[in-house]
């Protein structure tokens, strides 16, 4: 069975480490914060100028001056800090953020990512995505393996305008966990109950499949 959004977030959360500063993109990446393992502390960076983002506020504590990068009202945890947008991207560009998780439309075997614009559709802008992929060393892309028409999103060459070139090394989809190196996707884990053949048929880009592919553990 393909992973649900929550299970995908659960799998990504296994990549968290105690003491990590983490930037989570909008959508599935945001859900990762619900699965921080017990006893582990991570600090969420929101690129509009908050390190130590907490949960949504209650009606009593809602504050128009405290929002996340998706412009939603949030809170700041104990030990948080606020700073300017320039400083926020100094953290990102300077490689100080330990893990970045973001979504994508397409990823290719060269580590290119397309996530911000579909020609012919309304262009809203890249926001901070280009800075995040250029600045972070440790990036995980989360997305569905194929689009809703069944077209693979893991390609030999991205077809959409790029967000960043040669910057993605790890992808977690609803079907598999893959690493990108030497011009190919390497299948590392498959979602529970998903056959390697299904992953092969839904991966358009060059795919390297080892003799045995373990199932993900989601506990």
């Amino acid at each position: 069975m393909a992973l649900t959004r929550e299970q995908l977030a659960q799998r990504v959360a296994q990549e968290l480490r105690d003491g990590y500063y983490v930037n989570l993109g909008i959508g599935i990446p945001t859900l990762v914060s619900n699965y921080v393992p017990d006893g582990m502390e991570v600090m969420l960076q929101s690129e509009n100028g908050l390190l130590g983002m907490g949960p949504f506020p209650t009606e009593d504590t809602i504050d128009a001056d405290t929002i996340n990068a998706g412009k939603q009202t949030v809170t700041a945890v104990k030990g948080a800090s606020f700073f300017s947008s320039a400083e926020s991207f100094e953290m990102i560009r300077g490689g100080h953020v330990d893990l970045t998780v973001l979504g994508a439309f397409e990823v290719d075997v060269h580590g290119n990512i397309a996530s911000w614009m579909i020609p012919g559709k309304l262009i809203k802008g890249m926001g901070g995505a280009m800075d995040l992929v250029a600045g972070a060393d440790n990036i995980i892309v989360t997305m569905t393996h194929a689009d809703r028409h069944g077209n693979s999103k893991l390609l030999d060459q991205c077809t959409l305008p790029l967000t960043g070139a040669a910057c993605i090394k790890r992808v977690v989809t609803d079907l598999a966990y893959l690493e990108i190196r030497d011009g190919a996707f390497h299948l590392i884990e498959r979602a529970p109950g998903v056959a390697v053949d299904e992953i092969k048929s839904k991966t358009a880009g060059k795919l390297v499949v080892p003799a045995s592919v373990p199932e993900m553990s989601l506990t």
């Binding site: 700073f83 320039a86 991207f89 560009r93 250029a134 070139a165």
Partner: protein, 233 residues
């Protein structure tokens, strides 16, 4: 009062000299920390052909969004311009030019403008549309794009508190682009929730020193929330 007193009597004097065709740098992220009363005054003044630099462009009927109603903006430089139907229409029919800039690059270009740095190299956007037509360079094995500084004829800034000299403090994530905007304006106009006397703010905790601020005004703010999200109890 002293020559360092930046307080002006009203919004009209705060924006005195703003005219057609000028570049306006505006602080704020979404609707958070925007100089909402100064923007309203720009609308009342009716100046046209403005070139606006701001991370976002407000929403229909609020923030910078109101300046599209009377066709006051010709050019926009932003990182994200969603959530605004009138803007979308003007964008699609070519009434306004839009230059999309990665958010960190936009912040740094504004910072460079205020800091007297004409341009800088960044890896952001290398190999993408953003780098098209720009100088690139390989430094220590990595590729970078040359990005130029941005300055504004006017900068409109919102802070939380300031003393009369313009030494200012921002609150929470309402800081965002405001400090860079403050430094990048030839004329920087700041509106705040509270003006206090010099000496009342601890000099250790000033975010924007008064040297960057030319005109200061106290306002009341609606502080509209774009996406109101709450959790249970």
């Amino acid at each position: 009062m002293s020559g360092f007193d930046k307080v002006v009597p009203d919004v009209a004097s705060a924006l005195d000299g703003l005219s057609d065709g000028m570049t306006l740098i505006c602080g704020g992220f979404g609707l958070c920390g925007i100089p909402e009363n100064l923007i309203a005054e720009v609308k009342r003044l009716g100046v046209k052909d403005l070139s606006v630099v701001s991370n976002n462009c407000g929403i229909d009927g609020f923030g910078l969004g109101v300046l599209f109603e009377d066709d006051q903006i010709r050019h926009v430089r932003s990182s994200y311009v969603g959530e605004n139907k009138l803007f979308e229409k003007l964008f699609l029919d070519g009434t306004i030019d839009v230059d999309l800039v990665p958010q960190g690059t936009l912040a740094e270009r504004m910072r460079a403008g205020g800091a007297g740095i004409p341009a800088f190299f960044t890896a952001t956007g290398y190999g993408t549309q953003v780098a098209e037509g720009k100088e690139t360079r390989e430094i220590n094995g990595r590729h970078y794009v040359l990005e130029e500084a941005i300055r504004g004829d006017f900068a409109l800034v919102k802070a939380w508190k300031a003393d009369r000299y313009g030494n200012a403090i921002y609150r929470n994530t309402a800081r965002n682009f405001n400090p860079m905007a403050a430094a990048a304006g030839k004329v920087t106009v700041m509106e705040v929730e509270e003006i206090v006397e010099p000496g009342e703010l601890d000099p250790n905790f000033i975010h924007t020193p008064g040297i960057y601020v030319d005109r200061l005004i106290q306002s009341t703010f609606e502080k509209r929330i774009e996406f109101r999200t709450v959790s249970e109890g």
